[in-house]
């Protein structure tokens, strides 16, 4: 059944123009709600970046003295390339042994110097990370505890020991940030959901008006034998266009927000740690547009089912 693009474009455009006020309302509602979704997604990724060391429930980090050349792995079977490296390996193995046998330590994951170096490259501002090399970056043991409060005990026990360069556990500030953003995220998503629902209802209503405005045409179309899809598609497209237009506005908001944060990041180390790559913003916007498309399609599909007898 040939539904010409020309016909669909013409009908959709004229429908949108006829209901322009409703269209603007629907597009703006989609835009605001999807901006919230986008912001929540950005926030989530940003916080994940800033707290990347504490991901997967890590409660305490034991940094090991850097070894030059770096160890390939923390494993008794590794053949040391120099007596110094051999000594360091034995020392680090002993520390790992002691840590993992503590009753309140659940697991300890070893991250080598190369891994920590790459992570630091991302987390530290450029001037600090430039001074860093793989050889001067400490490897780390990242431990998950039965009870996070025991982190301080580990600090007392291992801080200043030979072979340990530093022990760190999340400060109250990091914990607060995680909690606040967690709550904020859900508030944003909740608001966005309500707004998306109202956007879908607004779209539904514009399509209903469009169907009502064209009921004569629709009845003639049916009598002369237009197929159901031929009748439905322009209405379907109308909702879809509204959803996507709103999503595109939201995508611009997300891009603007990313740009703004990037500008502000140089003044604040926290924002610097939260900054996102262009790829991540792109993926976020992909989701934003997809949700917009979905809301528009659902709104119009429902209107068509309910009000268009075709």
């Amino acid at each position: 059944m040939p539904v010409s693009l020309d016909y669909v474009t013409r009908e959709t455009a004229s429908n949108l123009w006829r209901n322009r006020l409703m269209t603007i309302a629907a597009v703006l509602t989609v835009a605001v709600s999807l901006s919230l979704v986008g912001t929540a997604l950005l926030l989530r990724q940003g916080v994940a970046h800033a707290t990347t060391k504490w991901q997967h429930g890590v409660n305490v980090l034991v940094f090991l003295e850097p070894v030059n050349p770096p160890l390939a792995a923390l494993d008794a079977n590794v053949k040391p390339s120099s007596p110094g490296q051999g000594q360091a390996l034995q020392q680090q193995l002993a520390i790992q042994q002691q840590l993992t046998t503590l009753p309140y330590v659940r697991t300890c994951l070893y991250r080598d110097q190369q891994y920590d170096f790459s992570e630091a490259q991302h987390l530290l501002p450029a001037d600090e990370s430039q001074a860093l090399t793989v050889e001067s970056t400490p490897a780390s043991l990242r431990c998950v505890l039965q009870d996070p409060r025991e982190a301080q005990a580990i600090y007392m026990q291992f801080h200043g020991r030979p072979g340990v360069s530093a022990v760190s556990y999340p400060s109250q500030a990091v914990k607060n940030m995680e909690q606040v953003t967690h709550i904020l995220q859900w508030v944003f998503f909740g608001l966005a959901l309500i707004l998306l629902l109202s956007a879908a209802v607004l779209i539904l209503n514009t399509i209903r008006l469009a169907i009502f405005a064209r009921r004569r045409e629709v009845s003639v179309m049916k009598v002369v034998g237009a197929t159901n899809w031929f009748i439905r598609i322009p209405f379907m497209f109308e909702g879809l266009v509204q959803g996507v237009l709103g999503a595109l506005v939201a995508a611009l908001v997300v891009i603007g927000l990313h740009w703004l944060l990037d500008r502000l990041a140089h003044g604040s180390s926290l924002l610097y740690q939260m900054r996102l790559s262009t790829g991540e913003v792109f993926v976020t916007n992909f989701w934003v547009v997809l949700v917009g498309l979905l809301v528009g399609t659902l709104g119009s599909a429902f209107a068509i089912r309910r009000f268009l007898d075709a």
Partner: protein, 228 residues
């Protein structure tokens, strides 16, 4: 071309619109369907268009049992049936040409077909010179001619007219019926549901009379009432 086999249609609330109606209409026939309001004429037309489905019995159109037609095939049935209504059903914001072209456009006919068919059919109904007028600039008779042109532009096998002269004065009505007659001569089967005695008596064609859903008369060269 059209066959009703013991067709019964009852609406919600128990109103019997058609009761055990059987009839045969050959290709190229011109048939008047007569009877008072509520006799079942419009139900016949709605059944033929598959706007309604019979409760019992079968309806065949061009060799197809249309009661068994799947939902998506209904539009293709309707492309074989042109339809004219008492209230014309023209689109007020489209010109005469656009109204007729619309019928071809929405079934996906290409532009060059529209460009050649529409002027032809407008000449046939005698409105070639009013192609750019809007419906409200035309008289009732002219509007109905546009509606006939729209129904016929796709060269359907069957043309249905439901009270086509119901809103027109007798002289204009005769013109419309002559037009339907001319279309019938091209081989199109024409069925006119009417309670306009004047046009039926003038034409002396086959008359099928319904009364309270019963087929009470099927006469080859009949008039509106009994007596002749």
């Amino acid at each position: 071309m059209i066959r009703f086999e013991n067709v019964t249609k009852t609406y919600k609330g128990g109103t019997v619109a058609l009761r055990e109606v059987s009839l045969d209409i050959e290709k190229g026939d011109f048939v008047f369907l007569v009877g008072p309001s509520g006799s079942g004429k419009t139900t016949c037309i709605r059944l033929l268009l598959r706007e309604e489905v019979a409760d019992a019995g079968r309806i065949w159109v061009a060799g197809r049992d249309i009661g068994a037609l799947s939902h998506w095939r209904i539009p293709y049935l309707r492309r074989n049936i042109g339809c004219v209504f008492q209230d014309f059903r023209l689109l007020p914001n489209k010109s005469v040409f656009e109204n007729v072209a619309f019928a071809l456009e929405v079934i996906g006919r290409p532009k060059h077909v529209i460009a050649s068919q529409v002027p032809q059919v407008l000449d046939l109904v005698g409105l070639g010179r009013k192609r750019d007028n809007l419906p409200h600039e035309l008289s009732g008779g002219e509007q109905q001619r546009v509606a006939v042109a729209r129904a016929f532009v796709n060269r359907p096998l069957i043309l249905l007219a439901d009270e086509p002269t119901g809103n027109l004065d007798p002289a204009t009505s005769q013109g419309i019926v002559r037009l339907l007659d001319r279309i019938n001569r091209t081989g199109t089967t024409v069925i006119v549901a009417t309670h306009d005695a004047g046009i039926v008596d003038q034409m002396r064609r086959r008359v099928i009379e319904l009364d309270h859903g019963n087929l009470v008369r099927d006469q080859a060269r009949g008039v509106y009432g009994y007596g002749t």
